[in-house]
Each structure stands twice: as structure tokens, then as C-alpha cells.
Amino acid sequence: MRIAKKSLHYLLLVMFCIIAIFPFYWLIITSAQPIDSLFKYPPLFTAQSNLLDNYYRYIGESEILVWLGNTFGVSLAATLISTLLAIPAAYSISRFMYKGRTLVIFIVLLTQMLPLVLLIIPIYILFSYLHITDNIVALILLYAVITMPIGIWFLKGFFDSIPKALEEAAIIDGCSRFQALTRILIPLLAPGIIATATWSFIVAWDEYLFAYTLIDSKHLFVVSVGLSSYIGQYSTEWNEIMTGAVLATLPIVILFMYFQKYMISGLTAGSVKG
């Protein structure tokens, strides 16, 4: 009975893992498939050419490296701005009681309910008016603002989890409030800051709507827009799309594996506790 139960449990678990992992397998297999073995029915379950052949060719012939570079630059710049501004804001609402604090918290949470698809309409009009559509710097600013509220909320959770007594002790010992923040709190918060920045970076990397609507020139595309631009072309060469898709996913998967535990603490510190 116990053994039957156990094997059923592992059977279910393995089935679950197959559902979770199979699409990844298919992504990689397709990316390595030569074009003639791609369009077969029944589909081929193993790659028919050397894994890297498609990659060399695709990287050489397409604009993927430019798109990846754009995405990396935009995401990194947006993350830096967003995190640098979120730290003092989170410190303010975690450590001070003041008039308007509740309003600030309300605004931060309210932004999470705004459909971005509604937001893009006035922003598109404003940007056209100012002639800053098709502009990477404007995109960076937007991404920084989109990721900021969630960053503030995560960091507030981390600040709340650090006892105030530590700062009080430092201040009694003669630190200024600013020194207490930079020398005591920030080092303790390092994991929280990393988690928040990783989160912002991933959100920015994932973004599609704003880049799709605001950027027209192919050499300014971010990778999400670049990849989606392949759909609906005359012949959809799925192996090339999947090669690009693997290249767009790889940095995020690596980041994700590496920062997994920090990110999970970010989620639980910020949102579960409310």
C-alpha cells in the first residue's frame, strides 16, 4: 500500500515535470532543425543537424545581436534608474510616519491596476506631440517608471523586516541618519536590492506593448518586438524564430536560476505579507 502510494506520487510528479519541461525541449529541438526536416508530419522528435549550425548562420544573417543589445541596454538602464529611485522611496514609507504616507502607498498600489493598454494611448499622443516616438531614451524612462512601483513595494517589505533598533544604535553611536542608511541598512538589504533589481530587469526584458507601439525602426527594436515581427511573413521559418527565441530566453533563465532564492524572498516579503 505504502509503495503503491509512493510510486503513484512519483509518477504524478514526473508527469508534471514533463509538462513543465517538454516545451523547452521542443524549443531547443526546433531551433536546431534544418528547414527541410522542420516541415514533416509526424514531427521529428530529435534534431537532424548539429545544434550550433543554425545558430551560426542565424546570428550572421539576422539582426538578432542588435536587438539583444538594445534589449540589454534598455533593461539595464531602466533597472538602474528604477532601483535607485525606489530605495529612498521605500525607505521613506517604511521608516517614517507622516502626513500623506497612506496616500503614497495607495498610489503605488493603484498603479498595479492600471491596464498598460489604456496608458499607451495618451502616452502615444504625448510622445508624437513631442516627437520622441522611435526613441530609445524615452523607452528607458517608461520602463523605469513601469517597474518602479513594484520595486518600491518589494523594498518596503525588506526594510520592514529589518529591526529599527539597528539604526537607532548606530545613531546613538554618532552616525548621521544618512550614514545609518548607507552603512547599516543598505549592506543588510543587499539581497533585497538584488532581488528587486532582478525583478525589474526581467519585467523590462519581457516588455512588448510599449516597444511595439512606440518604436518603428528595425535597428531600434527590442528582442520581443523583433521576434514577433517574424509572424505572418510569407514563409514562417520556425527554426529561425526558435533560434532567436532561445537566445532571448537564455539570459533570463540564467539570471533566474542564479537569483531564484532572492526573488522568492522578494515575492514573499512584498506581497504575501500585504
Binding site: P23, M97, I107, P122, D206, S228, T249
Partner: protein, 303 residues
């Protein structure tokens, strides 16, 4: 109640500008780029603005709203939205719970299984949609093939041209990507349930189902309240998955509010009408959150 770190030393001075100075750069940007545009969107929704002539847009009052409410697609759009939100919230929760229970009761290789199970979360949304679209491709898709040989669907079945299966495909894709989030939050919640409760229940002869219903579920109450709210807000606002899957088709059967907003504003060149639909989406999402907050979160705080 929270007090200023420096309450002792600062008591003499009446006004401390520090918190305002610290919060203002972030707040200013958020208000400028997120809050004010929403008011401006409401204003646009009362005009006939289009992509080419938004500077000479005419005021049309609530016409855009009445046109939307009386149009033939209104019911379609609302029902597609509700099906998508309800389906993705419930299934994301249930699948995440199943994963959490499976992993929680695993003794060996727990970390390995956990890492595998949360991997779909790391896939960028555009890649996610491209990959699933390829897997259900009617001519060469692997899922098309598998559903064909297992006899579940006719051969070369086209998911995205069928008005019911298009939504099924969208939901499958959404859930595969989202369940790791509910899995992680539920796992974190399960850690907080005291082990003694299960031991006591075993001694009293409770079976696995009763333990789940009377210990695990009530113990996860707070996580569940927060998670459902988060998932609902996200589902109302999700655009990318549906847009790239079907663009609302076939014949508007998957046109959720966000997609219908974008279609009208940017494809049919009618910013005013699109904005009105977007405002309806915003109001529905706010209404739901407010109701939910009153019913569940308030209750949680008074417990």
C-alpha cells in the same frame, strides 16, 4: 504604530522634510507617467481622436461609451474577458496547488523537482506565445500530432480557428507560464503551517483528504486571498498573450477588453473609441478589487 527612527531627537522640530524629499523623485515620475495619463485617457475617451488628427479631436461626450455598450461585440468582449480572467485565475491556482502538494510530499531530489517545475516562469511572454503557437501549428505542430494519434482531436485540427479551442489554447499557454507563481506562494504558505497539526490529525485517524481540507486549505487562507487578487488584476490587464495568439479572433471570440482596446485604438485608427473600452477595463478591474478588498482582505485584517 510606526514612529520615526529619530523620534527622540527630532521631537523638538515640528516639520521633518526628510521623508518627503526621499519619496518625491519616485512619486513625481509615477504621477507624471502613470497617474496623469490615466486622467488624460479618460478625457480622450470623450473625443473622436484618431491617429492622424488627435490635435483637432472633437468632443463627443459619452458617445463612445454608448456606442460600445450598444454594439454587437459588447457582449462578446465582456464574456471573453470574464472567461479568460475566471479560467486563468482558477486554473493557475489549482495547478499551482497540485504542484505544491506534489513537491511538499516529495522526500528525495526536492530541490531538483522544484527548480524544474518553476522554470516556465522564466520564459519571456513573446517567446512563450511563439513556442506554443508552433506546438499547436495545424500542419506540423507536435501537440497537433499528439492529440491526433491519441484520437482526442481530428487530424490537423486548427486550434486557433475554432472559437472554443482558441480560448482553450490561450488559457493553456497562460497557465503554463503562470502556475509557478502560485506554486511558489503556496509553498511558502505551507511552510507556515505547524507540523503538529498534521501529527495530531493522523493520531485521530484523519485521511489525506480531510487533512488537506481542514488543515492545509485553512492554513493557506491568507496566501490564497492575496494570490487570487494578484492573479485577477494581472489577468484583466494581460495583453501580450492574447494579442500574439489570436489578435482577438476568430470573429472576436477571444477579444478580451485589453486586446479590443488596442485593436480599436491602433489598428482601426480610433483612439477615442479605444480609450473608452480601456476605461471600461480599468473600471471593471477597480470594481472587482474594491469588492474583493471589502469582502476578503478586511475580514483577514480583523481576524
Amino acid at each position: 504604530m510606526k514612529t520615526d527612527v529619530l523620534a527622540g531627537r527630532e521631537r523638538r522640530s515640528r516639520f521633518d522634510p526628510a521623508p518627503y524629499v526621499l519619496v518625491s523623485p519616485a512619486l513625481l515620475l509615477i504621477v507624471l507617467c502613470l497617474i496623469i495619463p490615466i486622467f488624460s485617457a479618460v478625457q480622450i475617451s470623450m473625443t473622436d481622436a484618431s491617429l492622424l488628427k488627435f490635435s483637432q479631436a472633437k468632443w463627443v461626450g459619452v458617445n463612445n461609451y454608448t456606442n460600445f455598450f450598444t454594439s454587437g461585440t459588447f457582449e462578446k468582449v465582456i464574456s471573453a474577458t470574464l472567461i479568460y480572467v475566471f479560467g486563468s485565475v482558477v486554473l493557475t491556482y489549482v495547478v499551482g496547488m497540485a504542484a505544491a502538494l506534489l513537491i511538499e510530499h516529495t522526500e528525495r531530489f526536492k530541490f531538483l523537482f522544484r527548480s524544474l517545475v518553476i522554470l516556465p516562469w522564466a520564459v519571456p511572454q513573446v517567446v512563450l506565445v511563439l513556442l506554443w503557437k508552433w506546438m499547436i501549428n495545424p500542419q506540423y505542430g507536435v501537440l497537433t500530432y499528439l492529440s491526433d494519434v491519441s484520437g482526442m482531436l481530428p487530424s490537423h485540427f486548427s486550434w486557433l480557428s475554432d472559437y472554443r479551442f482558441a480560448m482553450v489554447a490561450i488559457l493553456m499557454t497562460t497557465i503554463w507560464k503562470q502556475y509557478p507563481l502560485s506554486f511558489l506562494m503556496l509553498m511558502a504558505g505551507m511552510k507556515g503551517i505547524p507540523k503538529e497539526l498534521y501529527e495530531a490529525a493522523s493520531i485521530d485517524g484523519a485521511n489525506a483528504w480531510r487533512k488537506f481540507a481542514h488543515i492545509t486549505l485553512p492554513g493557506l487562507r491568507h496566501v490564497t486571498y492575496g494570490l487570487i487578487l494578484l492573479l485577477t488584476i494581472w489577468s484583466f490587464g494581460n495583453f501580450i498573450i492574447v494579442w500574439l495568439m489570436t489578435q482577438g479572433g476568430p470573429s472576436d471570440s477571444t477579444a478580451v477588453l485589453t486586446v479590443y482596446t488596442y485593436l480599436n485604438a491602433f489598428k482601426f485608427n480610433n483612439l477615442g473609441y479605444g480609450a473608452a473600452i480601456g476605461v471600461v477595463c480599468l473600471l471593471l478591474s477597480l470594481l472587482f478589487s474594491a469588492l474583493y478588498y471589502r469582502v476578503f482582505i478586511k475580514k483577514m485584517e480583523t481576524e
